[in-house]
Symmetry: none
Subunit: 229 residues, 2 copies
């Protein structure tokens, strides 16, 4: 995995230097901004995995930074602040910050809280759709639905499992025994007629002319094969 990207918005050069050493030393890719304005732009262009934000900045209130960023990004924001009053913390957290660390802080704690933030971000990212396409046939393996020429095709669990098994071996021959084992489980090796019956069902639902299949091809004496591109 690539190194996590962090944007640091902090005006005091001394703290910047310290955090630069800490974060880069831990393997983070760090981008720094000394002002709120530059920071917001930096977040927009770098699309970081997390943001470390000092609340006290010369040009703009840190809370305003949070609110602006939250209009278009859910990136985890960890606030750093010299002010440890309850009121400050509540305002920042309710504005959309994910954590609040008071100065003086220890590098270990900040790093640990950064790991928590990245954990959250990693969990939130949805896996993209894995969709198998072959001619007019679209099989969305994540959403578990099958489309033929734009129409939704309703498949029973066994039909779906059979189809996805063939997709997994797309283009290659799959023997009767393999299909039986993968779809019906072990101890069904002699039930080859199941496969024939269900291949018929599938063809009726997926093929324009079930008698002249374009996708679900028979390999006589061996098994079946899903046509490839």
């Amino acid at each position: 995995m690539p190194e996590p990207v962090v944007v640091l918005i902090e005006d005091e050069p001394q703290i910047r230097r310290f955090l630069r050493a800490t974060l880069t030393g831990e393997g983070y890719r760090l981008f720094e901004a000394p002002t709120a304005g530059a920071g917001v732009i930096e977040i927009g262009s770098r699309q970081p995995d997390a943001v470390v934000l000092d609340l006290v900045l010369p040009d703009m209130d840190g809370l305003e930074v949070i609110r602006r960023v939250r209009q278009w990004s859910g990136v985890p924001i960890i606030v750093l602040s010299a002010r440890g009053q309850e009121r400050d913390k509540v305002c920042a957290l309710d504005a959309g910050a994910d954590d609040y660390v008071s100065k003086p802080f220890s590098s270990g704690e900040l790093l640990a809280r950064l790991r928590v933030a990245l954990r959250h971000a990693a969990g939130a990212s949805q896996p993209e759709n894995a969709v198998f396409k072959l001619g007019g046939l679209h099989v969305d393996l994540l959403r578990r639905n099958v489309m033929l020429d734009g129409r939704e095709v309703r498949l029973t669990p066994t039909e779906y499992k059979l189809l996805t098994t063939l997709i997994r071996y797309a283009g290659r021959v799959v023997t009767h025994q393999q299909l039986l084992r993968e779809v019906w489980g072990p101890n069904h090796d002699s039930m080859a007629h199941y496969v024939r019956v269900y291949m018929g069902h599938l063809r009726h639902k997926i093929e324009a002319e079930p008698a002249r299949p374009r996708y679900l091809l028979t390999e006589p004496g061996v098994g079946y094969r899903l046509a490839d591109g």
Copy 2:
């Protein structure tokens, strides 16, 4: 509108009393456990929206509680502790805690951090964009109210949890087992009829024609799916 459920694991009666007043006063549904063992059981059976955990407990290390719960649940865990050493914080956060508040703490800060946790659980980075919309169905995940064509719909806690779980996977199929685990907790895998009964309840409250659902769709043999766009 079901209230957020919080499990509090804390052995000192004094702090328990204080937090009980604070949290119930803010509209949380609170379940308390004085020991780690009881706490883990409570989390498993209540399936709370967040956990507040004191690290120092009579029967088991708080870190062990975190590790056990993390085996089967991603529920946000906020650690309370009298120990404010960097080492303690890092250990707890790396063990899977989501936040760490040192005693003495202010109730306002704890409540704010709890709101952050619930925001995360609702899948929103910012209070505003936590409304799920689908046709005439509006679900405010932070305020926890459900509107259908402008009218408020009263849901029981279990109904609400079932609906929000489906929302989290909107458009994708969710298996019976997934629903059981996320709504009823572990050790309910064989109770598939719960899901059928509650899906019926939900449809009666949300669907115009429960027999011809437009939102809460059945995926025969697999589970259910919330219609998308």
